[in-house]
Symmetry: C2
Subunit: 192 residues, 2 copies
Amino acid sequence: MKIITKKEKFFEETLKLISERGFKATTMRDIAERMNFEVANIYNYIESKDALLENYLFDMLIEFTSYLDNIVTSSYSPVEKLKLVISRHVQYTAIKPYEISLFVNEWRNLNGPKLKEFEEMRMSYMQKVEKLIMEGIENGELRHMNTEFTTFMIFSSMRWLFNMVINEKEKINPIEMEKQLMDFIFKGIERK
Amino acid sequence: MKIITKKEKFFEETLKLISERGFKATTMRDIAERMNFEVANIYNYIESKDALLENYLFDMLIEFTSYLDNIVTSSYSPVEKLKLVISRHVQYTAIKPYEISLFVNEWRNLNGPKLKEFEEMRMSYMQKVEKLIMEGIENGELRHMNTEFTTFMIFSSMRWLFNMVINEKEKINPIEMEKQLMDFIFKGIERK
DNA sequence: GTCTATAATTCGATAGAC
DNA sequence: GTCTATCGAATTATAGAC
């Protein structure tokens, strides 16, 4: 059995609350109530509500970017690389759905320069994936298509997976979820 | 040139503001400032902030449900029906991206019973589409697959389109957007 | 329809004692 | 680390005059 510190519990419960209600709709009083202590105690763990969101989002963005760069600079083929990226997203979603929920829904609540920085990093991430798709088309692994649109569609397909993970009563099998998603993206739904 | 009343302008600008910043993050002061009048004037057009959101979301949900029911009870084949549903979503998104943005991102801000009602209607909508996919598999138009997952994926693919419409500088061609989406969903990205 | 003024509440955050 | 107490700002909404 895993020992969990009060600090870990704080971040876990806060993440769930924000994921369920939204960042703006989650008040410090909500968090304190969930933790069974007073509002002032929250500031033992974080410096501000905004800083909490920033830390979550940029930690994830940096982690994902780092992982993608390792894939890109490897010697796999373009489509193999693309599948590794998708696999990473699915497996991460299966393990940390609330983090993904935050990432998908709450980045808009970043302030000024941080918002801009976030959007630029995310854009850069997507462009790297689009490049993989372009290369896949060039070497004949993928069919001809609008790469910007397709990149957009692949991210759209992955983006909402966290909802399924959070909502499904019976535990989802991440391996099967990945297989279904790969088939959907690469083969489509039409019968050959 | 279209004549636009102040009331129409109010709903248009308010929709854009909420879409950009989020429902909770958009204050009555923001709206009044955009409209170049005082906060009190807002209540000439709506009875409350919550009612504004409710009206938008349920109007759309009812409209979509009604349209889907007409498709379902028609004599088209399951896959033809499915394509009509997808087409409807794409074309609606092309014309009213801010409405879709609201629909996708802000339903969580509904209160108590309204939230439950919304979720049930949306669930019912998705189940009707899943039934089309099941029938498509049965009659051999679609390959065998997990229908719940696939339904989820199709909606995920469509859900984020509004972002492309809003962000793209050069006007998007809705017909081409629909073609790319249909190819993505039905054929996948792999080269045959 | 538009304004001024303000009510009533809720918000994030801090001071300071224990 | 936890509490009480509270601040100052922001929020939705209303009253009532013009």
